[in-house]
């Protein structure tokens, strides 16, 4: 929700999904985002599984993971799924916009 506010100034169209299942339903319904900000801690299937499913649907989709999970084992699991970047929480406006701009290039 805070990230959506930060991105507003980039004039980007944004959609939100409260859980991984809803995000995948958006994609399966034909929505084609250029960039996804993905929280790892979500209800339902969770962020890691959501990322895995997103990769299966679109191997080139840029996904920026935002997480408070500090465990090395979690970060290792993510590496295998190719996130564009990982932002540690708190996701400051500066960090979010800098990652957005890198993804835009």
């Amino acid at each position: 929700m805070a990230i959506k506010g930060f991105i507003k100034e980039k004039d980007a169209e944004t959609r939100e999904a409260p859980c991984g299942e809803d995000a995948l339903a958006l994609i399966d319904g034909g929505y084609r985002p250029d960039l996804v900000f993905l929280d790892l801690t979500m209800p339902g299937i969770g962020g890691v599984e959501t990322l895995r499913e997103l990769r299966e649907r679109d191997p080139d989709l840029k996904v920026i993971v935002v997480t408070a999970d500090v465990q090395g084992a979690t970060l290792s699991r993510l590496e295998g799924l190719g996130p564009f970047e990982v932002i540690r929480k708190p996701a400051t406006k500066h960090a979010v916009l800098a990652a957005y701009e890198r993804a835009e290039r």
Partner: protein, 194 residues
Amino acid sequence: MNVGFGLAAVSLSEVIDLRVTLTVPKISVLEAKTIPDFLEGEIDRAPAYSMIEQFFFGRFSGTSFLLVPKEEGKKLAALFGDESSYRDSELDFGSFEREVVVEIGNIVIGACVGKLAEMLKDRVTFQPPRYLGSDVDAVKLRQHLAENEGVALVFKTKFSFSNADAYGLLFLIAANDSIEWTKKAVDEYIEGLA
């Protein structure tokens, strides 16, 4: 245990660019049904707290509670949310303050539980944090914890942000079915230090 919490404090300080102090955790083993009495005796004399609960799952599993004295919420909102963040959020200030407290809970719990899990050679996953209210007092705490069974392993630490004189309390309660594993893992960790 204080190594894990010390690592958590360092991890937090790196990310939020503030000096975070976590006290050496006090660990208690007690019957789960006595947790409300125990917590009542451990919390400070603030009249009410904002409370966040977050479950974690692994071989080390259980629930964590973050308690922030009600008047500290505004200080934390100022620390973590600058004016533009508040404006961008499109929330009224009370809701923004709540979002900040939940986020702090997520970050502090993630750091402490995550580092502890790593120390015990485990990996945990988290449910999203739940906000349980901003007026949690001893009575409400007791009501919320009334259903616990079995034995509980309770960790208590106090965290503070030195730049802002804001603080909160963190409790971890290991789930009944992970107590034996946790005790064994702690013993193995201590043996490994020798």
